[in-house]
Structure formats: C-alpha cells, structure tokens
Symmetry: C3
Subunit: 132 residues, 3 copies
Amino acid sequence: MWKKVPVSTRARVEFVNIDGFVEEAVRAEGVADGVCYIYVPHTTAGITINENADPAVREDIIKELNKIVPFDDNYRHLEGNAAAHIKACLVGFSQMVPVEGGKLVLGTWQSIYFCEFDGPRRRHIYVHVIRG
Amino acid sequence: MWKKVPVSTRARVEFVNIDGFVEEAVRAEGVADGVCYIYVPHTTAGITINENADPAVREDIIKELNKIVPFDDNYRHLEGNAAAHIKACLVGFSQMVPVEGGKLVLGTWQSIYFCEFDGPRRRHIYVHVIRG
Amino acid sequence: MWKKVPVSTRARVEFVNIDGFVEEAVRAEGVADGVCYIYVPHTTAGITINENADPAVREDIIKELNKIVPFDDNYRHLEGNAAAHIKACLVGFSQMVPVEGGKLVLGTWQSIYFCEFDGPRRRHIYVHVIRG
C-alpha cells in the first residue's frame, strides 16, 4: 500500500528534509529488501536527494535554480508560477532509494528533500516499498 | 511484460500527452497495486509529468529549455542535435507513477508527457506495472 | 540483493560508461523479466543514459552543464563543490532500465553513464533487478 504523507512548506521555494517521514513509512511496511519510492502528486514541487550536513548546499541549489529559471521571463502561463513548473520538470517528481535489512541505503551525506517551488502550501508525498 | 507503444511527433520540440497510452497499458496488465514505469529507449527524447490544464505551461517549459540549452552553441557533435541530447539528460528518460486499485495515482493537475527534442519522428515508449 | 560496484573516475567532471558493470549484475541476478535500477549513494555524482556512438555528445553535455551551472558563482558552501551538488540534482541519482529475456532493454544508441561532478574519486554504484 502506498502511504500518503502530508508535508507543509513555509516559503515560496524551500527544500524540506523528509528522511523521517520516509524512514517511518519504510519501517511500517516491514519489507527487508527492495526499493523505496518517493513520489509527489504535484506539478510545481519535486523530490531530490542531496547533502544533509551543510545547509548552505540547499541554499546554493535553490539560488542557482532561481537563476537558471527566473521567476519572471515573459511566461505565457498567467498564474505566476510558470517557473515552478519548469524547476519541478528539471528536478523530477520521484526518487527511488534501495532498501536493505529494512533500512534505506542512503550514502553518508545523502538526505531526501521535498522541493517546494510554489509555496507556502500544504502538499503530499507518496511512499512505498516494493519487495524484491 | 513490457508493452512497447509507438508515439509520433510533429515538431522539432513537442510535449505529447501520453496519459491514454499509459492508462490503457495499466488496464491491460490488470495489476491492482504497484508501480507503473514509463521509459523511452531514445537519447534525444524524454518523459516528464506536468500540468494538464493550461497548454501555456508546456509552451513555457519548452521555451525555457530552448533558452537554457540553445539549439546552437558551438557543439562538437556534428549531427545538429546536441541540444536535444542535453535536454533529454536534464528531463530524464523515465518516470514512475503509483498504481492503486488498478489506476494511476496522478495528482489533479498531472499528466504524463513524451518529450520530443529532435523531431518530428516516429518514437517508442515502454510501459509496465510491477505488482507490490 | 543490491550489488555494490566500485567506479573510479579520473577527472573533475567525467561520464564513465558503466554498461558492462550493469550487464554483469543483471546476468548475475538471473532475472528474466523486470526492472533494473542503478543508484549512486553520493551527492556530487549522478547517473544518466545517453549516446554511445559519438564521444563528442558526452563532451557537449559536460561543457553545457558546466556553463549552466558555473564552477564558481558566489556559492555559500565553502568546500568548492557546490556546482557538483547542483549538477547532480539536475541529472539525478538513479536510472531504471527495463529487463526482458534476462537482458537490459537499451535503445540502439543508449548507454548508461556514471556522471562524476567532483572527481577524480573512488565512487560506488548500486545495481539490482526487481522481478515482475
């Protein structure tokens, strides 16, 4: 069963560490070995994996994404969030992480982030482990 | 079994809504719960998920990708489609979508798009649902 | 079981063809039909799929990524590898490839590449096939 987990964001663009939510869902499923999927059912938010130590890395990623895809650039979409759609397309809507011995196989520096590109908002993620 | 589905494109860069193809493949597999994979066996095309309501969003994504990765930029690859290879690398060659109750779990605004970056051409996608 | 495979890189930014490693892991698992996952447990390296014929394509992708995300851009992260974190976020930390008849379903021009963005280094990839 896919577990639907709420995530709240507090800024227009924000990376929220969701390791705790994902680890809890993995424990609840009780699968020893397989693949964990994290998916967002949105079009202006994404999921990524990145450094968990220095918070400056997240700030650098956000600042550079804002530069690569400017908030305003004569977009035709009139809701003011075209840049959010484009950033989500680049970052992606899902990640997969190996599961071994009932635990996520994250590298030493890896954490999983919900990437808000059009907040602040109440959002959701879906998490599931496939056995195998 | 992976289902191979033909997709035809009509422009150099074009996002084709493939929800219908993917939903039909999911129905044909008859799996109630699991993960649906959509994969392109190409190097100048990709797969993304994005807004299904306002077509201006797709135009904005395409216009911005064309700006981030210009068609001509002193590329060494001589076939004239280096930009297409780079865009496909950024957008990605596969997406996964949860399946519950035999149906794709797409968010309200989400549709699945085949992303042509070097068309027009006859292309293929692979679709499959893993049970679990 | 996830197979952990070492990969060594020899440049700051380098795309290493890992088809051989992945094919060997797929053979070792002996699964006829399913999905092969390739995952990096790093935050400054990624995995992509792209052209295997003309090596100029890889050079063009690397050159353009270096332009989109400059090595130096007043980043706050002080280790000198902020650009590597951002590039990895754009390229992604995993790929999936269909498996049929015990073999990877790669398109004619597709190969799988480990993407080093902060080398040279000793790295690892994880490979696994889920049956289904």
